[in-house]
Symmetry: C2
Subunit: 661 residues, 2 copies
Amino acid sequence: MNPDILKERQSATFDVEKLTHILDGGPEKTRRRREIESLVINDPDFQHEDPNFMSRSERYDLAVKKSAQMILKLREYGIADPDEIYCYKSLFRGNCHEALGLHFVMFIPTLYSQCDPQQFKKWVPLAESFQVLGTYAQTEMGHGTHLRGLETTATYDPATQEFVLNSPTVSSIKWWPGGLGKTSNHAIVLAQLHTLGNCHGLHAFIVPIRNMSTHEALPGIVVGDIGPKFGFHEVDNGFLKLENVRIPRENMLMKYAQVEPDGSYAKPPSSKLTYGTMVFIRSMIVGESARALSKSCTIAIRYSSVRHQSEIRPGEPEPQILDYQAQQYKLFPLLATAYAFHFVGQYMNTTYHRITGDISQGDFSELPELHALSAGLKAFTTWAATAGIEVCRMSCGGHGFSCSSALPDIYVTFTPTCTYEGENTVMMLQTARYLVKSYRQAQAGQQLSGIVSYLNEAEQRRVQPQPVSARPTVVNINDLASLVEVYKLRAAKLVELAAKSIQQELQHRKSQEDAWNYSAIELVRASDAHCHYVVVKLFAAKLAEIGDTAVHSVLSTLALLYALHGIAQNSGHFLQAGLLSVPQVLQVSVRIKELLSQLRPNAVPLVDAFNYQDAMLQSVLGRYDGNVYENMFEWARRSPLNRTEVHESYHKYLKPLQSKL
Amino acid sequence: MNPDILKERQSATFDVEKLTHILDGGPEKTRRRREIESLVINDPDFQHEDPNFMSRSERYDLAVKKSAQMILKLREYGIADPDEIYCYKSLFRGNCHEALGLHFVMFIPTLYSQCDPQQFKKWVPLAESFQVLGTYAQTEMGHGTHLRGLETTATYDPATQEFVLNSPTVSSIKWWPGGLGKTSNHAIVLAQLHTLGNCHGLHAFIVPIRNMSTHEALPGIVVGDIGPKFGFHEVDNGFLKLENVRIPRENMLMKYAQVEPDGSYAKPPSSKLTYGTMVFIRSMIVGESARALSKSCTIAIRYSSVRHQSEIRPGEPEPQILDYQAQQYKLFPLLATAYAFHFVGQYMNTTYHRITGDISQGDFSELPELHALSAGLKAFTTWAATAGIEVCRMSCGGHGFSCSSALPDIYVTFTPTCTYEGENTVMMLQTARYLVKSYRQAQAGQQLSGIVSYLNEAEQRRVQPQPVSARPTVVNINDLASLVEVYKLRAAKLVELAAKSIQQELQHRKSQEDAWNYSAIELVRASDAHCHYVVVKLFAAKLAEIGDTAVHSVLSTLALLYALHGIAQNSGHFLQAGLLSVPQVLQVSVRIKELLSQLRPNAVPLVDAFNYQDAMLQSVLGRYDGNVYENMFEWARRSPLNRTEVHESYHKYLKPLQSKL
């Protein structure tokens, strides 16, 4: 153990294990998680070369191998609980993705939710025995977030009782689905259904794409890998061009809508049946934001405690870089954010399951709010985490740029969350739509319920632009409850400004739609402020649940730092709305510096509490024992470029160059 | 040509070619640049596979090949002017780095500046004929920015008249130098010189590391590649461990300091002789920031003009995504920033050459200011560009994540500038040191000259915290000169706050050094505000040079957007300092939206004016002709994973899995 990091652990003012239990959701969950993790760590199949040393083809090969291994091992161990499967897989696959990811996450669930009974009986056993390897082909080259724009067609031919699928343009080629390029032999294809001369919009079809015994592409199917990406190297995101591909009528998923043999169409009872899945996945991503950021903080903070550099006082030994205020200011607010997002993730998970219960009993009342909240928080947390990972990486100096730090992998694996499952700006605008609608309802005197009810209060208080001096300042910057209140008022103010911007644009004789577009900046800002309020509020609420005094104390410090740092970063909003005075904003800066010093002795213990195994982090810089440099040297020596003493390019190009000159 | 992008070009309100001349520095420079570029583009050797489809070893191989080719071609064409060589190479190497980069940029220049006459006669011809392939080994695994901390030793042995070089610890292993791993046969090694029992600090030594005919590592030399990184895949950044390596006394670079045969030491006349090179490289990086950001804007804006998505008005065709205000708000401020940085880069280049002239005539007076300015602007521009590239990437939706967009390459190639040649936070603190020193001089009544002279004015005006209402507002937010003034006053205010923070910390009985450390947040903020002021000021100054009315008009719009967007992002500072009122900040938001609409028709022409050839951008999304999708399909089909129809992993893992279940 590196003596610096040992010393850091001795300075903890709280019991790290107790905090780990809170993060896991109880001591029993911690115990079970560790049990599952030890299954992976002690498994000889888990040992493998660093994927960073492999070609893309080798990485893909490893991912397929791991996918197959995981299926067999999970059955062997009898692990069936979804949370436990998640836990097992996330360690086993490391920073890689699962080759059969979409088979599990999209293909099988879609079969479960959209097959009629006969289809269910046919396809589910095939998929669960992996005879059918499936993916979900929705996105096209020219069409992402806006589903109505998809161009792929499925035209019913009553003569043969078949659908004929086509990609009528280049931009209609299916693009991006994971596992489509090489792995899958079937795809659920989303296509515009045409029958008897009418188009009935998007429907889902099971399309065989590869021969089930030779795995070769079927006639009319042009399928392949879409090429290298920023990350996801081991994933065969694919393309699929359909050229008059015929499938039986029974391959349209018919639980809700049907096409009869004669071509007549029966429409589904409701168009909102897939609402729930989207909400679920976006809620999950909030938790992913917390994980990506907490891993990055673990690496950067541990490394900052063993890295010595420069000097504070001349002649003295080089200090740990964690002693520099500038370094603390980079990392501690991110550490606070990681905790905040973790608790928000827990809340989203619980809320989702509660509301799903309500829905199954016919109560849909909370769904719109959850939908708006999950969209906004997905965007809010993924943007913050994606930027935060890079701050962590750059806080490690040059070594953060080395793949041995794992930070490049964490970044490229995480950053797509800003785009997939709903592009972030679009998500923020969806949340804004709900906020503006709620604001107008409040204005019309309607009593709102749930998290937007503050828009009623604001209406009653008639928040208006006014000079700072005219508003009595009641905020106590040392009191979290008071800060929650000020975040709430800021959100109310910015929602109001956005709604007013729309009104003003309408007065310039613009249509409702143009007025909305010309208010997009204000709308995104309003959503952002709303989400920020929710996060601060949920962090504060979490503190009330914590009994242990020492843990409560350190988490309170983090929550205060999170709230005050957010104010410092957005001080203009708070000043503009007259919520804080100029002297208070100056006090906030001073208080932040005190909180950084206060957190300093607990920094390493706070990342230890996330309890990531070294095997999970796969980071030389983030090692628990702090023995960074000797292991970095060992890692580098395994670099493929070191397999030969003299690279062939020397003989091919440099030797001849020397002789030519 | 895609009809959308054609229409964009027809809407230009200015002559694109005239703006290109301004960016190049005159029509003759544009002509010559294009002449050189056409040499590359028409060269059959320039055609090669996309490096994204290659393994690291193949990429390194290609880089070495290109380096050798460029040397021969430049001689053949007789291109010898440094700017022209830069122009040729930057196109020829594309988004890759040069295998012999450090040989040209560090090794040979160091020989020129630090060899004594005999050494010069011996080493320069060897290096210029590439018998000696050199690199510059300074950074160690545990030591970067703080040079005094380097641990490598060179101990003089008078008995044999040799130096004995050693890496005494793991953390002292040389780490990161480009070309060290596989390419170089010599390294200039920075080591602590010990002779006759005394240590005389860092000196430079020429150390042979590989046999000049077999290229094998020499005895006592442990050398290799440091392994894969976030980017720079084709570069063999290396490690070097020295184990009792003996070199002749004459291999110490002796122009300034000498060790006599008996071991006696003569110290150099001045310790600041390498000051100039650092300043030069940092100034150059400002230009690199402009290039990286202008390339990214070119790609994102062109793609946003051909990409249609979602709907503004129901039932109408999907609009170009450039018509969304949210998209404009992401991209147009970055476009303005790219222009701003381009002009700042031009200024830094001119200033560097002017001051170098002064220095050669013995006038060092402006060097400290240039040093402070280049440090701060290097950090300011690289941070802004590195974040901006990612905004551009994410503004392209999923396709930005594909390597075919080139945005991932641009990012990973550029982001290291935040760390190398002086870590950005350290750079900001260096600039802050100069600012605080200047502020104290101004307080002491001294008249400052140059760019910091505003600290005198501020002192005279006694800027102090006061309520907004007490200060008469004189700022005209539509007048650039007025905005330059307000940026200046903000900088003055934040320098004052930083200096006062140090004073306050000192009152808490802290040492000068601790007071400095505990004011780091304020110091970085002050530097940032100073640099921001300089950029706005230089952008405004550039406008005065532009005669063409139409070009002047569009650049004025960009400059105004740059200035107002910076105010909106930092509105807290301006409100806090009483420089703007709350209603003015609201007006700024409204004005920004007007400027976005105003710039919309010129967006594509403004990126066209950067005049990047398709061969330079290497981006499917950024193609001049806008024919994105068909070319993306072509590109994907060349993906190495598509070389076989069925990947071997199917037979190895998936088939057996099916039979096991």
